[in-house]
Amino acid sequence: MVSTTPQQPITNLKGEQRVVIHHLSWESYLQILHALPNHRRTRLIYTNGTLEFIMPLEDHDFFGRMIGRFIYFLARELGRKIKTIGSTTLNYPDLDKGAELDEGFYIQNQPLVAGKTVDLSQDPPPDLVVEVDITHTDIDKNRLYAAMGIGEFWRFNGQELKIYQLQNQQYIEVETSIAFSEVPKSWLYEFLENSRQDELAAETTLCQHIRQKGVNQ
């Protein structure tokens, strides 16, 4: 089993281009959101006066998609429910915070939001959020997603995955996912490494892996 992270040094990766605007009101943030086209690569994150525009580059996009796919395969193979929200804008006016994620999923709470458009003023936040940040971000994302009440936050920097679990409104770093406690991080690293060579073969290997390791569910 491969247990290392992908080999390419982080500095060579095509991560993100970012632009930050300070001293922006919530109303101005909404005005900008509405002025922008719905379909765009650039994502917005707003928290308490600071707006960051993130334009994901090639490697960022690849890792984001692959980690999202990894989570989907885990849900499928382990018999969980899953609802994909992708980069839908999560706006919390009361918190003065809004975000467009790399990936977001309902897993444990999927039954609460199945078959409907999520209304964050009533529905729970996504159970699992993934963010890829290869270059520096000015936004304190741990504080941001903890404030939104997101139970589990996966952060990937191009080499290493950190998993955070919400406890008493703060994130504690943990070794394994809450939603998929039977899955070690090394499976993700192996999946990413294999995906660089052959995405379909990586899926086959991962699924065999889950079955062979005799995950007892």
């Binding site: 632009v19 930050v20 300070h22 943030y29 086209p37 765009r40 993130i54 334009m55």
Partner: protein, 221 residues
């Protein structure tokens, strides 16, 4: 005389962070402009549906300011001889709704047309565009700035990439690269490189050196 460009390799320079958004309407661009704070380091350029936001890094800012200062000193020293004055526009938003173009350049100056816009707020719909406009682009930009500023009718466009200055002169609505500035034909480009090089150690000394060179070598001719 040093006639080379600054020594630092371009890749080591803190150039820009940029974000590009496509399919933005002119109205959307105006809404974004209105929503953003007036005072900000991020600059917007909008060209027919494409919005580029540029956050200048330390070297970008420094080169922009120093080249702006270079132009300002030239005009000040040559003002009596040439009968010039200067109006500094800085990064003022230049919006041209009929062209669906808007820009916040690094530096822009009225020199020949200074009397037309003196003591008033420039109205780009009625007033001429700035006489000299400077853009520093150390990293790649998605906007074709030569076409862009030619369309706006800017007579002289200075472009600096962190190492080389290129000066473009508007001829029949297109830019033609010029060896020296049409405004300052007596000033070789190497003077700017010297000035920038000297500014790295002492901005005050560099200004003094430039002024005395102008007085001794240009104004005495």
């Amino acid at each position: 005389m040093v006639s080379t460009t600054p020594q630092q390799p371009i890749t080591a320079l803190k150039g820009e962070q940029r974000v590009v958004i496509h399919h933005v309407t002119w109205e959307g661009y105006l809404q974004i402009l209105a929503a953003l704070p007036e005072t900000r380091s991020t600059r917007l350029i909008y060209d027919n549906g494409t919005l580029e936001m540029t956050m200048p890094g330390a070297d970008h800012e420094w080169f922009g300011r120093m080249i702006g200062r270079f132009i300002w000193i030239l005009v000040e020293e040559l003002s009596d001889a040439m009968g010039w004055d200067i109006k500094t526009m800085g990064s003022t938003t230049m919006n041209y709704p009929t062209f669906k173009k808007g820009a916040e350049p690094d530096e822009a100056f009225y020199i020949q047309n200074q009397p037309t816009v003196a003591n008033k707020t420039v109205d780009f719909a009625a007033d001429p565009p700035p006489d000299i406009l400077l853009e520093v682009d150390i990293t790649n930009t998605d906007i074709d700035k030569n076409r862009f500023y030619a369309a706006l009718g800017v007579p002289e466009f200075w472009r600096f990439d962190g190492q080389t200055l290129r000066i473009y002169q508007l001829q029949h609505q297109e830019y033609v690269e010029a060896q020296t500035s049409p405004t300052f034909p007596m000033i070789p480009t190497s003077r700017l490189y010297d000035f920038l090089e000297q500014c790295r150690t002492s901005e005050v000394q560099a200004a003094k050196t430039l002024r005395s060179w102008l007085q001794q070598e240009v104004l005495s001719q």
